[in-house]
Amino acid sequence: MSSRLTSGNPLMGFVHRRRRGAELFLLVLSLVVGVGGYAAVGLGVEGHVPADIVGYGGWLAALCLVCHVVVRIFAPYADPVLLPIVAALNGVGLAMIHRIDLANLAQNEDAQTFARDQLLWMTVGVVLFIAVLVVLRDHRRLQAFTYTSGLAALVLLIMPLLPVIGTEIHGARIWINVGPMSFQPGEVAKVCLVIFFAGYLVLHRDALALAGKRFAGIDFPRGRDLGPVLAMWLVSLGVLVFQRDLGSSLLFFGLFLVMLYVATERPGWLVVGTALFAAGSYVGYLLFGHVQERVDAWIDPFHSDNAFQIIQGMYGMAWGGLVGRGLGQGDPTLIPFSYSDFIIAAMGEELGLTGVMALILLYGVIVERGLRTALVCRDAFGKLVATGLAVTFALQVFVVIGGVTKLIPLTGLTTPFMSYGGSSLVANWAIIALLLRISDQARRPLPDLSGPTDDDATQVVMLR
């Protein structure tokens, strides 16, 4: 990327440019996509540009600009690509949710609408985004909250199982009632878990990395060090069993495994973890009807009683073809939950393969920017948090889009920034704020040359 050599720091070699102007330019493009999508929906469905286009577009633009200004002031060296991509995804998602609202209203005047709520949630997300950047000036402070985060994650995961506040919606017990709203604590638990894992692994990675036996060219860990892995495995299985939430279970375990591997640099953990995962999946398949239903619907949807949704999703995407029907020209209401879990199918129908590929690539770029941040980050904790957040994101996108497009069995997860759902949207804005904070730290020129820290020394050794 854009770096230039500076002469005063022979070890780090170069200093990153701020690139805030580039961010603003990309942000304007994103707004054109988001607001343009909203206008296209109005044109496609009603034949004219929506009456509230100025108010809506203005609000969206204001949110984006506020984000940009906050980043400019509080994280000037942060990655310039992340915010525009998120703005584009959020804008396109809003346009599609609005489009599905209109279709539902056409069928039933009293139908529930989601776009307005989603815009509100986006606002809440942006507020949290700003709060994270303003309050958290250095991500390393989070390391102090390692065990607090772990406890918080546990509480958040258990909350839906409690009576009164916990509710079961569509077969998964992953919701809690907060006043008139329902909230998915698992989305926030995800972030807490990343912080907890990173803090824990930074402290224990030497023990986990160094002790062990070598077998078949791979270093395998000691038995006693398996404790935390097994604990996490059990927590994931618990999520699967008690909350019937296949997607989160897979996500949490995958996340832990990846962070463990990155912290210890030992592929042996991946082997052990994958074996545990395979065993857990197989036992889960044998024991639980809802897992079997999902797998059967995946293997042969046209001869399964539980594949209606996935078949409708596939029909929608096939109907969209290469270039799509055009916004407002398809029939996304035929797909159950096209405004939430199945929004990518609605995108596929109206924007076509071209649109779906663009969206997948945008997600891919977010992950790439997250991992790049991890690479250039100077401290182990930041590296682990950035890797964890990026990989969570990648896994979540893979699991939900792969599930909808029948690449893997369908599991319930939200499509980040596009699906309707407050908890997911707010949590993902916070994730992006954390990534920006870490990348700001990572890309910022070193304030003084008072000698490298231990981490830097380690890094230099390994670069050889």
């Binding site: 990155v262 096939a318 109907w319 393969l353 792969g402």
Partner: protein, 488 residues
């Protein structure tokens, strides 16, 4: 820690590549399969609201799409619903398509590859894609004569008429009775459509059944044409060869004898083959069947089309059948079109048309021409031989002469047309004592230059048992159809 982070980058990239490849498979490679599935409401809705092409008979539409002011924008209208119901079929939102609406759907809906250029033009012109027209081979006068003829026997008469052009195989008329109104199934009022469908389904007369092709019946004495063809083709018989007549034929291995209709004696103990056909002598043909053997008769039947499917333009044509391994008495009964011999009216029309066409049976077809929405001809039917030598031309000539005798001086005088030679054969088939016999008549005219071959079946006209005969019920209908074609 950078090495595992790089490894994870590659892992994540693999995940995203898998998503991209899979999306391409789903939306590009697999899309056609998914779009053509029956339960795909999306495709059905889009097709249902398209301006579908018309089904034409000699330039007049019998099915067309008219603009209406509702969510589907176009209403399918059948202008002569009952007369053409089994040819046009129906186009229903709930119950799908049938007959020409089904077999020619690609053209009618506009999704045929040959209409690709039209679709692209429509796309850029921002106009809705339109379907092409399908023109049928049907002669509207013959169709009307056939329909009116059956209806004249009673409102709920069960029967069928098929008329073929012997030299091409073009279907000039095809009527099945009772008929139904396809408009009731094409309505946009879906609850009314459901009621209409359930009424049709529960009707014991099964109006949706196309009796001309979708059901087989014992052909009775009309099958004697096949037996006679087998006898003449064997080289052992000539039209004036002497065969046994009389009142009864002893059936081996049984206590019963084969007798003639009404107990007649066929005009003597020894008669010619021509006379045997003229008076429809069961004794003679039962004897011929046993002498020739079941295999010979079956092979002759297969040459005319038994055991095969040959009609592509309509769905659901069933195969006519001849018993697998009959013993001697069963062979005798089979030779006169009883026992387990069964044929569709179309099959009997093909036997007749084959004889009329000098022994060559033409492949039957109903679609004459398909046209693009801008009236450009995309495909014109070209007649093709189905069996070029079902019988030799000399046998065909002999059979024609024998059939002329049947109409001139035999059982089918009711089919005579003044100033013209008509060749025909009657049939009255018993199936079981509980139900009335089937009345058949097959014929072609003019005998020296055949322009039309007809098969008429009256399954149940609700008349007295004694009044049921091929010559009484079926031949007059055949006569009207032949006249309609020839005097056009």
């Amino acid at each position: 820690m950078n090495k595992p982070i790089r490894t994870m980058s590659i892992f994540c990239m693999a995940l995203f590549v898998a998503l991209l490849v899979n999306a391409t498979y789903l939306q590009y490679l697999q899309a056609d399969d998914l779009n053509s599935r029956n339960d795909n409401k999306r495709v059905r809705d889009a097709e249902f609201s398209r301006e579908r092409g018309a089904i034409l008979v000699r330039g007049d539409s019998v099915a067309e799409s008219r603009p209406v002011d509702d969510e589907f924008e176009f209403q399918r209208v059948y202008t002569q619903p009952k007369r053409y119901a089994h040819l046009t079929g129906y186009y229903s939102y709930t119950y799908g398509r049938n007959a020409i609406e089904l077999t020619q759907n690609d053209i009618l809906s506009g999704s045929d590859p040959r209409l690709f250029v039209n679709r692209v033009v429509d796309l850029f012109g921002n106009s809705q894609p339109k379907g092409g027209d399908v023109s049928l081979t049907v002669d509207p006068k013959a169709q009307q004569a056939a329909y009116d003829g059956l209806r004249a026997l009673g409102r709920n008469v069960e029967g069928a008429v098929v008329a073929l052009d012997p030299s091409t195989g073009a279907i000039q008329a095809m009527v099945s009775s009772p008929s139904y109104d396809p408009n009731a199934l094409a309505s946009h009022d879906l609850s009314k459509v459901q009621q209409a469908w359930e009424r049709l389904e529960s009707d014991p007369d099964r109006p949706r059944l196309n009796r001309a092709i979708q059901e087989v019946y014992p052909p009775g004495s009309t099958f004697k044409l096949v037996t006679a063809a087998a006898a003449l083709s064997s080289g052992q018989y000539e039209p004036d060869s002497i065969v046994p007549g009389g009142t009864r034929l002893d059936l081996p291995q049984t206590d019963t004898d084969l007798v003639n209709e009404n107990g007649s004696d066929c005009g003597g103990k020894k008669i010619t083959l021509t006379d045997a056909l003229r008076v429809s002598c069961n004794v003679s043909f039962g004897y011929l069947g046993m002498t020739l053997g079941a295999d010979t008769v079956r092979e002759q039947a297969q040459k005319f089309g038994w055991g095969d499917k040959y009609l592509d333009d309509l769905n659901g044509q069933v195969e006519s059948r001849f018993p697998e391994d009959p013993d001697a008495p069963q062979t005798a009964l089979s030779a006169i079109g009883q026992f387990d011999v069964a044929a569709t009216p179309l099959q009997m029309a093909m036997v007749t048309a084959g004889i009329a066409n000098g022994g060559t049976v033409m492949k039957p077809y109903l679609v004459d021409e398909v046209r693009s929405p801008d009236l450009e001809t995309l495909e014109k039917a070209s007649p093709e031989a189905y069996r070029s030598n079902a019988v030799s031309s000399s046998v065909a000539r002999d059979l024609t002469q024998m059939m002329i005798e049947v109409v001139d001086r035999g059982t089918a005088t009711t089919a005579q047309i003044p100033g013209m030679k008509v060749a025909g054969k009657t049939g009255t088939a018993q199936s079981s004592p509980e139900r009335p016999p089937y009345a058949w008549f097959v014929s072609f005219a003019p005998a020296d230059d055949p322009q039309v071959a007809v098969a008429v079946l009256v399954e149940d006209a609700g008349v007295e048992r004694d009044a049921i005969s091929g010559s009484g019920l079926a031949a007059p209908i055949a006569k009207r159809v032949m006249e309609a074609v020839i005097n056009r």
